[in-house]
């Protein structure tokens, strides 16, 4: 803000102080739940039942984390959320890759190989972004049954891919619409075909929107609970379902520290993805608005 010209009167300084005060308070308010979770997850159970929610841990311990990972009971079994954590990855990675790939091809075809009714196809795909999850539960269960992949990892991946395509198509279509059609014409004259043009000309400049699509899809699919609980068998459940089971399994004393540690474990990958690639996420979303 050094390049903003303003008069430094006492009143202006007071106002600025107030402004910062309010902003800092708001920021604290937003971060508080995470702080409480993190603190609670490293406190022994005795400290939780004795102290207040906001007190700092006196004897920090990682036992709740190891217990949440490997020993805590999720329903009938007591193996922690660790296995489900890897389950989630086994679902998320293929689903993200497939939906992003299809979205990119869709966006490419809808912008660079227009056909009669391509705008209508796009409008209908856009419609897919607004369909509530609950609406498709029953028909999807039926379909998965017919396909013979109900309660399997493949089935859940298919559901996520189908749901994700609407969004990934939207991302890529809006990105490719900003890329001049003359590039494609030039490549056609040079003798390149549909896939060659995609692979050699468009994909190399698509990094920003690929990042957007991957982050979006990763977060959506990782955080999904409803499809996970509806369409997976016991051994293929994602971590979100396991977390729910862990918290709802009540035998004796409620172990808040273990619950919190498990919640942290379940939330960690999306946070890591955003921290690592968030810069590109914003850049990709605003790409095209400013000419590079």
């Amino acid at each position: 803000m050094a390049n903003v010209i303003r008069r430094q009167t006492p009143a202006a300084r007071l106002f600025r102080g107030l402004l910062y005060g309010v902003l800092i308070l708001a920021a604290l308010f937003y971060i508080l739940p995470l702080v409480v979770m993190l603190m609670t997850s490293v406190k022994p159970l005795s400290e939780i039942s004795a102290g207040s929610l906001l007190s700092l841990p006196q004897n920090p311990t990682l036992t709740p984390w190891t217990k949440a990972w490997g020993e805590a009971c999720t329903g009938m079994r007591c193996e922690g959320v660790g296995g489900y954590f890897w389950n989630s990855f086994a679902i998320v990675i293929p689903a993200v890759l497939i939906s992003t790939t299809i979205g990119a091809l869709n966006g490419y075809a809808l912008t660079k190989w227009r056909f009669k009714g391509s705008e209508l196809v796009f409008a209908l795909m856009l419609f897919g972004c607004f369909i509530p999850f609950q609406v498709v539960l029953l028909p999807m269960a039926q379909t998965l049954g017919w396909l013979g992949i109900s309660s399997s990892r493949a089935g859940l991946i298919l559901v996520h891919v189908v749901f994700g395509i609407a969004f990934t198509t939207l991302f890529f279509r809006n990105f490719y619409v900003g890329i001049p059609n003359e590039l494609v014409s030039a490549a056609k004259l040079d003798g390149a075909g549909f896939f060659r043009i995609f692979w050699r000309i468009l994909l190399p400049v698509s990094a920003p929107i690929i990042v957007v699509s991957v982050i979006w899809q990763f977060t959506q699919i990782w955080n999904d609970f409803l499809f996970g609980v509806a369409f997976s068998a016991h051994n293929t459940q994602p971590v979100t379902v396991a977390l729910n089971n862990l918290v709802n399994t009540s035998t004796g004393v409620r172990e808040y520290n273990v619950d919190m540690a498990a919640a942290m474990i379940a939330a960690l990958p999306t946070l890591v993805v955003y921290v690592l690639a968030g810069k590109y996420f914003v850049r990709g979303l605003t790409a095209g608005s400013v000419k590079g």
Binding site: P180, L183, S185, L189, D190, G191, R200, P204, G292
Partner: protein, 373 residues
């Protein structure tokens, strides 16, 4: 044999007819320019030749072969785009050799071709840069290099200079002309700039509303336009159109220009230029077309100008361009532009005697705007 022949090509977008029975034929090594205002169909015609848009009817032949329904890649053409359309992720070298690579030309040959065009266009030092690191003029050269590398039968240029600044545009124009003279390539070139059309073309096609109004050499199009549109489009400042009445004077035709406050101006029509349609338009309104350079100062060309007709007018505006002076002066009911020598010491408001070279004047029908004589 014609290098490129366009035969009764029509193109319709829904009910809108963008090209209406266009036919052109050019020989190998010819430089054809399609010129016209925006929306005249010249870019559509270019895309039809390139195969980027299918035609509704008609045929396109390249080197005698019917390519109407061939893909762009199979037509053996190369195109330079207005936006250059350089592949942003590739270096200049990759950009130039991409077309050869797609055609499975072996690597050593590709490299030789890149060297050849880089040398020709003096872009050897830029070969390892990306398009984003190049200036406008350099991008333009690379775009031409990409076309030249493949040595196709026909080159298409789609307004290639319109994104360059004025000075660079003139330089590149000369460069393109030199290249054409050196390589003897067949070129179809789209532009809306009539100066580019005049300077570059062997053959100009002036287009309007999906029609070719006139197809001819720059000299023909400039000096013998078929109608008022072509006459007004070519040349800058453009031709003056003066309302007049065709009359039978003593011993020949003459044009009467009514002037609001002064006596009527009567210009005799030279006998050598009498056209077939003149007799039937006697005593009818016509349009007299005079280019600014058809006027000259009275004392400027005394020696050579025997048939020049003298007139005098009050100069309204004096616009010196450096090389010459443009004068705006009333003639009849309208204001005309006259081009006089830079030494002409006239000020606005003064009365000036001018000679009109009626030998080069052109007569149009007032209603159909077609040329009479």
């Amino acid at each position: 044999m014609a290098a490129l022949e366009i035969h009764n090509v029509r193109k319709e977008f829904g009910s809108e007819r963008v090209l209406k029975d266009v036919s052109i034929s050019i020989d190998s090594g010819e430089f054809l320019i399609l010129v016209g205002p925006s929306g005249c169909g010249k870019s559509t015609l270019m895309n039809a030749i390139a195969g980027l848009e299918p035609v509704t009817a008609g045929n396109i032949y390249i080197d005698g072969e019917d390519v109407t329904w061939r893909t762009p890649a199979d037509r053996d053409i190369a195109m330079v785009f207005q936006s250059y359309a350089l592949y942003p992720s590739m270096t200049v070298r990759q950009n130039i050799s991409f077309g050869l690579e797609m055609r499975k030309v072996p690597k050593p040959e590709r490299e030789a071709a890149v060297e050849r065009v880089a040398d020709l266009l003096q872009i050897t030092h830029l070969l390892d840069r990306k398009p984003a690191q190049l200036s406008g003029g350099q991008r333009q050269r690379v775009a031409m290099g990409r076309a030249l590398a493949r040595e196709p039968k026909v080159y298409l240029f789609d307004e290639p200079l319109s994104n360059l600044d004025a000075k660079l545009r003139v330089d590149m124009r000369t460069e393109i002309k030199k290249l054409h003279q050196r390589l003897g390539t067949t070129i179809v070139y789209v532009t809306h700039d009539q100066v580019e059309a005049m300077t570059l073309a062997d053959c100009i096609a002036v287009m309007r509303d999906g029609h070719i109004l006139q197809l001819g050499t720059p000299d023909e199009v400039y000096n013998n336009p078929v109608d008022m549109f072509v006459a007004g489009f070519m040349g800058s400042p453009s031709m003056n159109f003066i309302r007049a009445t065709l009359e039978d004077g003593n011993g020949g035709y003459q044009l009467r220009i009514t002037t609001p406050e002064e006596a009527d101006l009567v210009l005799p029509w030279p006998e050598a230029r009498i056209g077939a349609g003149m007799a039937e338009r006697l005593n009818q309104p016509v349009i007299l077309g005079l280019r600014p350079e058809h006027f000259s100062e009275e004392d400027e060309r005394l020696t050579s100008q025997a048939e020049g007709t003298l007139l005098s007018a009050n100069v309204a505006v004096v616009e010196p361009t450096g090389a010459d002076i443009l004068l705006r002066l009333p003639l009849g009911e309208q204001e005309v532009t006259a081009r006089v020598g830079p030494k002409c010491a006239v000020a606005a408001g003064e009365r000036l005697a001018l000679r009109v070279d009626m030998g080069r004047a052109i007569l149009f029908d007032a209603e159909t705007e077609q040329r009479i004589a």
